[in-house]
Symmetry: C2
C-alpha cells in the first residue's frame, strides 16, 4: 500500500530503522520538538540521507504514520473552490477515502493507534498541525486553528461512530446523506459566527 | 468516589468478583446479550444476590463502568424543560460534570478505556443504548436513536479535543463559550431538519 506513494528508497533495514525512530520521536515529543537530525542519530544514519529519502519533516511524519493516502492531497482539493461550500467538498473528499474498502482498513488501524495511550501526541501535535490546521490557512479563514479544531472535533466523532463503533444508522447511511447531515455543522465552524474563544 | 453512590454492599471480595465478571461480560458480549444470571454464574454467586446488591442490569452496567457520577441523573435534567433549548441544558449539565476537577480524572479514565481495543462494545452496546438513547425518547424526538447518535458524535469529539488531547483554544475555553459554540450543532441534531438516514 505504501508502494502507491512511489518508490521505497534505501535499503529496507535503513528505511525501517528511520521510520521506527521517527514514530518513537513523534509519539514521545510531538511534531515540533522532533528533528530530522535527532531521528537520524537514533536510526544511526546521516541526516542528509533522511532528507533525501523522505523529504521534509511533514513528509517523514506522514510516512511514519503509514497512511494509505496522502491526506494533504485529499484535503488540498477542499481549498479549490468557494469557501461557502468548503464543508461539502471536504465531506465528499473525506468519504471518498474512508468509504473506499481498499483504504478503510489501513485508516482504521491509524485511527485506533492515535486513540491508544501514547498515541495522543501523534494527533494533537502531529496530524492536527501538519494536516488539518493548514487547510484553515489555505481557505483564508479568520482564527484558522480554532475553526479547523472544531471541524476536527466533529469529524473525529463521525469516524468513531460510523467506522470504529459502526453504530447504526450512521454506519450504513449513504454518503450523500452523511454529507447533508454534517455539512451545515462544518460550514458553520468554517465560516459562521462563533463566540469568542476566551 | 464510588462511596458517593451509597453503601457498597456485600463482602468486598464478592462485590469485586461480580463487578469483574460484569465488566468482562459487557465488554465481550455487549449490553443486550449479557445476563445477570450469566454474570452471577461467572462470579460464583446467586443471581438474586446480584439483583439485590446492584439493582437492574443498567445499574450493574454503570457500576461496572465505575463512573464517578450517575450519568442518568445528569442527562435526566435535560429532559426537564422545553425541547427547543435542550441542547443548551445538555451542554451545561455535561460541562458541570466534565469541568469539575474532582470528577474529571475518573471520567478521563473511563473515556480512555472505552477508546481502547475491546472497549468499543462498552460504548456502542452499553453506554449509547443505556444512557444516551433513552434521552431522545424522554425528549419525545422523532428518530430518537439517530438524533442522539449524532449528538454523541459531536460530544465525543468535544471530549477528545478538550479533555483527552487538550487542544487549544478548546481546552481552556470558558464553559459558556463552549456552550455557545456547540449548542447550535446539537440543537439541529435534536430538533432540526435532517436528511433521511437511508
Amino acid at each position: 500500500m505504501a508502494g502507491s506513494r512511489g518508490r521505497r528508497p534505501g535499503a529496507p533495514d535503513t528505511r525501517a530503522a528511520v521510520l521506527s525512530a521517527a514514530r518513537s520521536a513523534f509519539a514521545a515529543k510531538g511534531f515540533r520538538a522532533t528533528t530530522i537530525r535527532g531521528v537520524a542519530t537514533t536510526a544511526g544514519v546521516d541526516p542528509a540521507l533522511v532528507h533525501h529519502y523522505f523529504g521534509t519533516k511533514s513528509d517523514l511524519f506522514l510516512a511514519a504514520m503509514e497512511l494509505p493516502v496522502d491526506p494533504r492531497r485529499v484535503i488540498g482539493a477542499v481549498a479549490d473552490g468557494p469557501v461557502e461550500s468548503a464543508a461539502e467538498r471536504f465531506l465528499g473528499a473525506f468519504l471518498s477515502v474512508w468509504d473506499d474498502p481498499a483504504v478503510q482498513p489501513a485508516l482504521l488501524t491509524v485511527a485506533r493507534s492515535v486513540l491508544e495511550p501514547g498515541g495522543d501526541r501523534l494527533l494533537s501535535q502531529g496530524f492536527l498541525p501538519v494536516v488539518v490546521e493548514p487547510v484553515g490557512e489555505l481557505l483564508g479563514l479568520d482564527r484558522p486553528t480554532h475553526r479547523m479544531n472544531l471541524v476536527a472535533s466533529q469529524v473525529m466523532g463521525l469516524i468513531l461512530m460510523r467506522y470504529v463503533l459502526r453504530v447504526e444508522p450512521l454506519a450504513s447511511m449513504p454518503g450523500e446523506m452523511v454529507v447533508a447531515t454534517f455539512a451545515p455543522t462544518l460550514q458553520r465552524y468554517l465560516t459562521g459566527d462563533l463566540p469568542p474563544d476566551h
